[in-house]
């Protein structure tokens, strides 16, 4: 137990470069694996939360653009969504990394983009914006006609109608699908350090450390289940938070008992 606390102090923030510099090389203990993989989770949470929040704003914009009648707004949105939903994230990471490397030569101030904390974040941000944009677009098209007519009858038009009627209804309709997207985004953050983006000084994410241990011990049956445990926990937290938001979005609706059965297994796929 004493040892484990020491390990926690040494490696707890190792993924940020704080603490012991050298990673353990032999006589790996279970404690070391749990602590280091958990330390890596900091990166997964960082990428996930920031990409989700920033992506949410762009996704709304893209969805409204795609639903717009004006081709100058519609076409770019359609192409943006097609580009990021039609190609693998893995290839997007590779392409973006080499693009940023070339960009660095020409425009020196873009240098941070060639490291993971900024470059990979940009890719994840654009990627999740495209996927969420498509979800929001679908929801936008399913906003009940009656709601919009009622809004018109109350004299709501333009921006006011969008802000007070269309947007909240869109969010409410899209929320279950958006919850999946959030879960999937967090899962996708594990790809970052397996593409071009370097983990400088071995500052990597959870999967990076899990693979480090699997490589060194040649025993995949310990580090990967630890990683799986962390991710199941993270998934449950996301589902919980998104569920709270969902309740908030639906608070004005009459309670429908049949719909309130807990869903243990949402559709996690894209």
């Amino acid at each position: 137990m004493e040892d484990c606390l020491q390990t926690l102090a040494d490696y707890g923030l190792r993924s940020l470069g704080i603490g012991e510099r050298l990673l353990p090389r032999s006589d790996f203990t279970l404690c070391q694996q749990v602590v280091l993989i958990g330390s890596g989770m900091i990166w997964n949470v960082y990428f996930g939360i920031i990409a989700l929040v920033t992506g949410f704003a762009l996704a709304t914009l893209v969805a409204v653009g795609k639903a717009s009648a004006h081709p100058l707004a519609r076409k770019p949105s359609e192409w943006f969504i097609f580009l990021f939903r039609g190609s693998p994230l893995f290839i997007q990471f590779f392409f973006a990394y080499f693009l940023f490397l070339s960009l660095k030569q020409v425009v020196p101030w873009t240098e941070p983009l060639s490291s993971a904390w900024a470059g990979a974040l940009v890719v994840l941000f654009l990627n999740t914006a495209a996927y969420s944009g498509e979800i929001f677009y679908g929801a936008l098209r399913s906003v009940p006609k009656g709601d919009l007519e009622a809004a018109a009858a109350y004299g709501l038009t333009g921006w006011t109608r969008f802000r007070r009627i269309t947007w909240p209804t869109m969010l409410r309709l899209a929320w279950p699908a958006y919850t999946n997207e959030a879960v999937f985004l967090f899962h996708a953050t594990t790809l970052v350090f397996f593409t071009g983006f370097p983990a400088r000084q071995q500052k990597g994410d959870a999967l990076y450390y899990a693979q480090y241990f699997a490589d060194k011990t040649f025993n995949p049956f310990v580090p990967y289940p630890i990683l799986a445990g962390y991710f199941v926990l993270l998934t449950l937290i996301i589902l919980g938070v998104m569920g709270l938001v969902n309740a908030q979005l639906q608070r004005h609706l009459p309670l429908d008992r049949t719909q309130r059965r807990p869903r243990l297994l949402p559709q996690i796929m894209r």
């Binding site: 693998p88 994230l89 997007q92 590779f94 080499f98 799986a228």
Partner: protein, 294 residues
């Protein structure tokens, strides 16, 4: 490749490019696109079979089988797929070798796990140390296919499980009223009818599968990502007849275009297929088709 390529130093412009793009390594790169297509062609039916098995297990009336089916679906879907790819490639390999070890060398007394080593007797090695190169590559590819099938089987199981439940209850009851056993009902009513409900989910899954193929790279197969990195890296005149700066960006751009075209074509094909399957079905899409054709 071409006759005029014999002396690369004399070439320039398009002729240089034509020769550069037809070197032996580039041919291997183009062949790797075939690897991706083969992987898809083999994995899709295998994953569907795993999915069918998983869905049937999750519907089972025997509790342990049902738990197994539901657990399989839940665990694989709750964890990042990359982690599963990295895990299964080693885990399956060790599992096979462990099984063969116990069958082939029952007298072996040394422990298999010694510190950081995994030691089985030489006869149990997979593939055998004496096997030719193509067996090693084939084995790696087979492991990759199995890994993909296990992971995507869970997703397919989830889709099929939902589709089986979506078959109208009245039809199942009618079948029972005609005296069919649950088994007959399953084969004659549920399975033929579930596809139309499963298609949107399976179509989506096919797209996800296409977009997961570059992960072959992580499984140690020499796929398109491997070659794009290899060929795109800067080449100096000392080591190559075709020196060039770092072109990896352009190679990955071509992969991006390849995948965009592939998913677009798939999207159109799936839309046609779903129209075809909706014919004569008691769904909104089927009803629309019925009204359109007089």
């Amino acid at each position: 490749m071409f006759a005029f390529c014999t002396d690369p130093s004399t070439l320039d412009g398009l002729a240089w490019l034509a020769c550069y793009l037809t070197t032996g390594k580039h041919m291997a790169f183009y062949g790797a696109f075939g690897t991706v297509l083969i992987l898809l062609a083999v994995t899709a039916p295998t994953a569907l079979a795993f999915g069918f098995g998983g869905a049937v297990a999750a519907r089972s009336r025997v509790a342990p089988i049902r738990w197994f089916g539901k657990g399989y679906i839940a665990i694989v879907r709750g964890v990042p797929d990359v982690a599963f790819f990295l895990f299964f490639v080693i885990a399956l390999d060790q599992a096979f070798e462990w099984l063969r070890h116990h069958v082939k060398c029952p007298d072996w007394t040394d422990p298999i796990r010694q510190g950081t080593d995994f030691l089985v007797c030489p006869e149990a090695k997979l593939p055998l140390g004496t096997a030719p190169q193509w067996v090693h590559e084939g084995y790696g590819f087979a492991l990759a296919v199995l890994t993909f099938a296990i992971v995507f089987g869970a997703f397919a199981a989830n889709v099929l499980f939902g589709a089986m439940r979506a078959v109208p209850r009245a039809q199942v009851e009618t079948a029972a009223a005609y005296g069919m056993t649950p088994r007959q009902t399953f084969h004659r009513v549920i399975v033929p009818q579930m596809w139309v409900y499963a298609l949107p989910g399976l179509g989506n899954l096919w797209m996800v599968l296409i977009k997961a193929t570059p992960l072959l790279f992580l499984l140690g197969v020499e796929d398109i990502v491997y070659w794009a990195r290899e060929l795109g890296a800067a080449k100096t005149p000392r080591f190559s007849d075709y020196p060039h700066p770092d072109w990896r960006m352009w190679y990955f751009l071509s992969l991006l275009v390849f995948y965009l075209a592939f998913t677009r074509v798939s999207e159109i094909a799936i839309a046609r297929l779903s129209d075809r399957l909706a014919r004569g079905q008691a769904t909104a899409a089927g009803e629309r088709l019925r009204k359109e054709t007089p």
